[in-house]
Symmetry: C2
DNA sequence: ACTTCTCCTGCAAACCTTTGCAGTACCCCT
DNA sequence: AGGGGTACTGCAAAGGTTTGCAGGAGAAGT
């Protein structure tokens, strides 16, 4: 029913190749002819079939973006950044959600494979070997994970976790807990590794609890267990869990930060709205999205315009597969306070602020977060 | 570089059609042959090219889902519901975000057109005529909008707005304000229409402010203007704006609900976490997502397997294009209280609760929202 | 032994484009 | 008049798959 190139050719009395050129290389066709063709196309409502075009050119001008859970506020900023970056380069982004399920993840890569020029794999839960295998099917860029031989952009959560632990031990906490993330998460492993090391260095005890669902519910459910560890400070895999934990602790009658301190990771917009405001590790999600798109597109210059004269030449120009690491920083707000071993003259949530350079500029989105006219509005303290 | 059907055929010594059948109609090929083919395919890492397959079958088994703003918590539940429904029917969903920009919206429909079997257009900002035109290019189901001749699923926000206004006037408010949504939003028009009528019926004054960006910032920015209207109660286009407004009013030193009442629309998860908890109109987003997928797939049975013998037959089986309307309900929490004209013996936020049947069951997601052990935990009051 | 079936496989057209190559027409120079 | 451009257009192959049709082989029925 929809008009094809042939219909337009017939209607305007030219060969289909001329119609094709009218759209993909207008300068090659006589202005007069071109206008006639365009008019017919317009009249018939013709649009080039992108699937057919992709079949022969090998380029779809689409990018797939697979995320673990679209409902996690961590992802939207990344998605939006990727989209705008892609749009600038005349590409479109198709997003898909895996529900944290590795099987769905694999399935989606296959589904996207031939309809996109590459896939951005965000926080994948699959095994490394599977990812490598899939990368032979479609160009891949992984985000929040390192896979040998694949381009990747990771946020340095290891450093962030270290900062968080140092912040807590600096406040006098000696008994720490870590709420780990989901099984298969590279990020969770990094956090655990780094937090463990930092705790050991500070001679503090660290209990790791998990794996857990990286959601509010996941955090809420662990409140009781956290209490049982006797920890006076907790680091969580992400902000959502921290927020759930906040609620859970509240339900248990524990006050934050007086009885127990909580630190999240991600710095989602929501973490500024909780009571108390959440101390957290800020990750540069937007930058990650942009970078990933750039890496994919750059690596992608080696198009395959028709098979040409066969597999001659050195098609294996697997140039240095870059791995970009983005820095993180600690944003100190109100959910962390002094611990039992703290110097006596210090007290209150913000007591530790003076240990660091005070740069009140916080890179977040909501400029109005600290209205200024209302409560004292302690500015965020940022450590990096 | 990736293996094609021809490679597999050559390797297993059969014709390509046999390979094709091995994958798309296994029962038609001798088990022995089939195994040989499968083995070769496995060895070569062959995967059918979905684009090529779509070209000839006319079916991609993909569905496009276009939303206005993926960062708005309203959408993820809808997306997830659509995804799981689609997955059940062996379809994949590709999501794209328009940034609230009608031009991007149109562009995306074109980009998706030939790569999906249909597009779910969620809260479109385009003109009706443009939508109709696009619907000739690819099957469309619109969500949160009514377009003549197109299948649609809408949530009855009109009814919701009416309930909200009646709730407020019932509490004794006589001066109301409405924070409208973005230009081009059908939902916003519906709300406005219905709210105006309800206010008139109750002989209350209603000031409409807008259009506004449907975000926290959008709500925050209007606090001052709301105050200037002298209204004692406000209804907002969505929860995000209501939450922003809450912050804005707080910054102005106005107390909610003592000085001013606020009602949102959507009942996003976040609205249960604000202080005070937000009174809001709950919309059945998940059901909408599921329904939309079903409508698309059902309307889609009329596949076009090859052009066959031409345009014979009655291809114009444009069967009754259904329009489904989903009910909404009012969830009364703590952001609404009595107004100046209220009976004297009533006071406090929950004072109006007894006016309605008290059904504490709220359909939301977070089962732990009311821990029970903590504060009195007033259960949500639901009106529908 | 002949027909009729069933089961399997191959052939080739079709889907909608893009693009290298070749051909035509015309103009400009010398 | 002849040579060399330039500007445009047509031809046909190619991309990877599906599928109606027909043919071959063997089994079963008469």
């Amino acid at each position: 029913m929809p008009a094809t190139i042939r219909d337009v050719a017939r209607a305007s009395g030219v060969h289909i190749s001329t119609v094709s050129r009218t759209f993909s290389a207008p300068h090659l066709v006589n202005p007069e002819t071109r206008n006639r063709v365009l008019a017919c196309a317009e009249r018939l409502g013709y649009r080039p079939n992108r699937a057919a075009r992709a079949l022969i050119t090998g380029r779809t001008h689409n990018i797939g973006l697979i995320v673990a859970d679209i409902a996690n506020p961590f992802f939207p900023p990344l998605i939006k950044a990727a989209e705008s970056q892609a749009r600038q380069r005349d590409y479109h982004i198709f997003v898909a959600d895996t529900n944290e399920d590795p099987a769905v993840e694999e399935d989606l890569v296959h589904a996207l494979a031939k309809q996109v020029d590459g896939v951005l794999l965000c926080s994948p839960r699959m095994s490394n070997s599977l990812i490598e295998q899939l990368s032979r099917e479609v160009p891949l860029v992984v985000i929040n994970r390192q896979v040998a031989g694949l381009p990747a952009v990771v946020m340095d959560v290891g450093q962030g976790a270290r900062l968080a632990i140092e912040h807590l031990t600096g406040l006098g906490h000696r008994d720490l807990a870590l709420l780990a993330g989901p099984r298969g998460s590279w990020t969770s492993r990094e956090i655990r590794r780094s937090a463990t090391a930092a705790a050991r260095a500070a001679e503090a005890r660290l209990t790791v609890l998990g794996p857990n669902a990286p959601t509010e519910d996941g955090g809420f459910a662990m409140a009781e267990q956290v209490r049982r560890t006797g920890a006076t400070a907790v680091l969580t895999y992400n902000d959502l869990m921290a927020i759930g934990l906040l609620e859970g602790l509240d339900a248990l009658g524990l006050r934050v930060p007086q009885d127990i301190s909580v630190v999240g990771i991600d710095d989602i917009a929501l973490s500024r709205l909780t009571r108390p405001k959440l101390t957290t590790v800020a990750t540069p999600t937007a930058a990650a999205g942009r970078t990933a798109v750039d890496m994919l597109l750059q690596h992608d210059k080696s198009a395959s315009p028709r098979t040409g004269r066969g597999r001659s030449g050195t098609s294996d120009d697997r140039r240095t597969t870059a791995q970009v690491t983005l820095q993180t920083e600690l944003v100190i707000r109100d959910s962390t306070g002094v611990g039992p071993a703290a110097p006596a003259h210090r007290a209150g949530p913000a007591a530790a602020a003076d240990r660091y350079a005070t740069s009140p500029a916080v890179p977040g989105s909501h400029g109005h977060a600290d209205p200024g006219s209302a409560a004292p509005a302690t500015p965020d303290v940022v450590v990096s």
